[in-house]
Symmetry: C5
Subunit: 90 residues, 5 copies
């Protein structure tokens, strides 16, 4: 999974029917030190996370599977909100 911070949201009227009812959040990837790194991604959300929160998301088939048995055509889903993060580089 990847670390990121929620920085935005998007709206779309015309979209695949399997995405109906899904919130679409814009996530900025961050390092474990919480600095921005890399390009933003559009994620569906399993967690109810809000703007500015640090989350981790899953990709590919696993992104879709988070909603099982519901079928959602997504390749990136927020699957958890980070409470705390301990990093120690030696």
């Amino acid at each position: 999974m990847y670390l990121g911070r929620i920085v935005g949201r998007l709206w779309a009227t015309m979209k695949n029917e399997n995405l109906t009812g899904q919130r679409l959040l814009v996530v900025q990837p961050v390092t474990p030190e919480l600095e921005d790194k890399g390009k933003c991604i559009v994620c569906t959300d399993w967690t109810g996370a809000g703007a500015g929160e640090v989350v981790y998301w899953s990709r590919a088939r696993e992104a879709s599977y988070a909603f099982f048995p519901e079928e959602v055509v997504t390749d990136a889903t927020i699957v958890g909100i980070v409470d705390s993060l301990h990093v120690k580089r030696t």
Copy 2:
């Protein structure tokens, strides 16, 4: 999913039979601030989007699944057209 802008289209006579009848669009990835970033990709289209529109697309198995139950050999599909996008970096 990823944000992008439609910048072109391609035509191919010789192609896999599972791509017959599919429009093939050239998409330039963009940042949430809508600046070009990264290399272009060729997408099938579920939405009917036109040149210059901002869209988001899905990859891998999910790209193919958007057309279910039709079988399309694609690894990148436009699944929505962006109406509006709100981004706030803290």
Copy 3:
């Protein structure tokens, strides 16, 4: 899918039995303006494309699926030859 130009071919005696009889082509990714960009990839070929031709290829499970019902252990397959390509950046 991704745009590329065929720049070479490789031969292998010792290879997975599910690749027997498959041509293996070396493809250089290109931009929509047909300039080289990124690292080459080895593709199986569904189209019969020849050296120098501009093609697009599919990745992952979809690469393998192009040969269905034949089982081919490939993660990159050329699925179409580009006849023409129209790009207009605004």
Copy 4:
């Protein structure tokens, strides 16, 4: 699979139910010479590895499959701890 060193851990109360009970480790990718390279990733762990250990992890569907028949919504799993590593570049 990819080489990495465990540099941290994260905790999350709100997370997908299929991740309950899974340790979530922060892994820094390393070169075969064990130098840091690339962005960190959040992995589930099959091995019981501890901070500072060199491991290798698997991605995508295979990450999830390591826990079979248990269903875990993960796209990155540590599947082995490196005992020794011999590299010779010619």
Copy 5:
């Protein structure tokens, strides 16, 4: 598939049971001109290739499928040894 040269090997006592008995090789990606490019990857091996040999490997589900019907939790497998390689850039 991707071109690479075998540059090392690793040993692991603690590893996922589905990797038992598999050789784990360290592969350096190379260009068609056989220059090193990009970060090393750890591959299972279907071919019996040795140190210094130029090979190509497959990723994701296809990596695992090379061992079918055996189940191996791998996302990168060497599927062929390169005998010869002809590249001509125009």
